[in-house]
Symmetry: C2
Subunit: 226 residues, 2 copies
């Protein structure tokens, strides 16, 4: 029985890793479609959404089964509830990849507005955050998880910069408006991906430390006391 | 022991209801601030974010305690894991209310672009969806939960309509760009709120029926079989 449970936990771990890989690939593909103006890649991202949705349900059902049948305690319990949360974050990242692909599809109807520099840079950071958050989960690496959370501001700042620059484009030349709005939305989708990676980072810290750092609660509770 | 557990479940139920009320109020206040161009209300929404974050953590910790100490089975287990998910959705709605307030703060720097009609309409539907999804949860009302899920398209269509109309404004008069972009983003935030309400609707159906309808899995599995 103990061994069977260990196997089930390993199975859960592997499923989460597979899901993470699928989501990473969708994000990469969506950004590549944008950079290379490739319609086939757009369609490929849209096609893959379904698989990501199905594996999330699969993980969720496995977690419920483990909670019901194994009645896990302490660290196993935290692992299983974290797995449910991480799967939900990954699924939302997959949705954002689809959003980026849909915006790209719009952009392909028009000539390139300007060479893309900041958006690919933002995408690279967001993708690194996704990868690091998953690695932090696999290796129970609290330090890496905290590093992910700290990079969130970097992405937010880049997004603000992109937003302001594109506003300037639109104001100077109304012919750029449709394209600029779509690029602004892509910036926001990337920002959301970074947010989800940050949420996973927080889940990992909780998993390792057994306490929550969500919404900087450590400081807040300190403030209330102090 | 059995009675103590019932009390704890009631406590969890009450906390979720309190959180839902807080989130509904934040959304209403953000929309009221937009409609009435009221800076004080904007600040009030920003102030309330912290309370929503804290009650989510509170609910999460209570759920983990119940899972660990009570080792619940079947419907209690589903209730507790649903509560964790619903709290996470509510917290995200609270974030969207903050986003709307921040966009409103920007809009208050400029004169009114045009009388707001579609955005308040969209807000009303989104708020009804939030309220209905919570009522569906309280009353284990599967029918109401399904009705919430079905309204999601209505909000998406309104959002598309708002997006297209505002694009026209920008193209005709570049002086409207900043305001129009902020209104487009508010439309998207409302769309996200409706998405979160839909997610709660799905959680309620799962809670009541003990099966998932996420991502229309019933049809999908039917297709695979058929």
């Amino acid at each position: 029985m103990e061994r069977k449970f260990d196997e089930e936990l390993r199975d859960l771990n592997e499923k989460l890793l597979r899901m993470a890989t699928m989501v990473e690939e969708s994000i990469s593909l969506a950004i590549k479609a944008l950079k290379e103006r490739n319609e086939d890649m757009v369609q490929e991202v849209l096609r893959r959404e379904e698989d990501i949705n199905l594996i999330e349900i699969d993980i969720d059902e496995l977690c419920m089964k483990l909670l019901a049948l194994r009645q896990p305690m302490a660290s196993d319990l935290r692992f299983i509830t974290s797995a449910m949360k991480i799967a939900a974050e990954l699924e939302r990242m997959g949705d954002q990849a689809v959003n980026i692909a849909e915006r790209t599809e719009e952009l392909l109807k028009y000539p390139l507005l300007k060479p893309l520099i900041d958006i690919p840079r933002m995408a690279t950071i967001a993708q690194e955050m996704v990868r690091d958050s998953i690695n932090a989960f696999i290796n129970h690496d609290e330090k890496l998880a905290r590093a992910v959370c700290e990079r969130d501001d970097e992405v937010d700042n880049l997004n603000d910069q992109i937003f302001r620059e594109l506003l300037t484009y639109m104001i100077e030349d109304p012919g750029t408006i449709k394209r600029a709005v779509n690029l602004i939305l892509i910036g926001r989708h990337l920002e959301r991906i970074a947010d989800h990676a940050t949420n996973i980072g927080e889940d990992v810290i909780y998993l390792v430390k057994g306490k929550t750092i969500k919404h900087h609660i450590e400081e807040k509770r300190g403030e209330l006391k102090g």
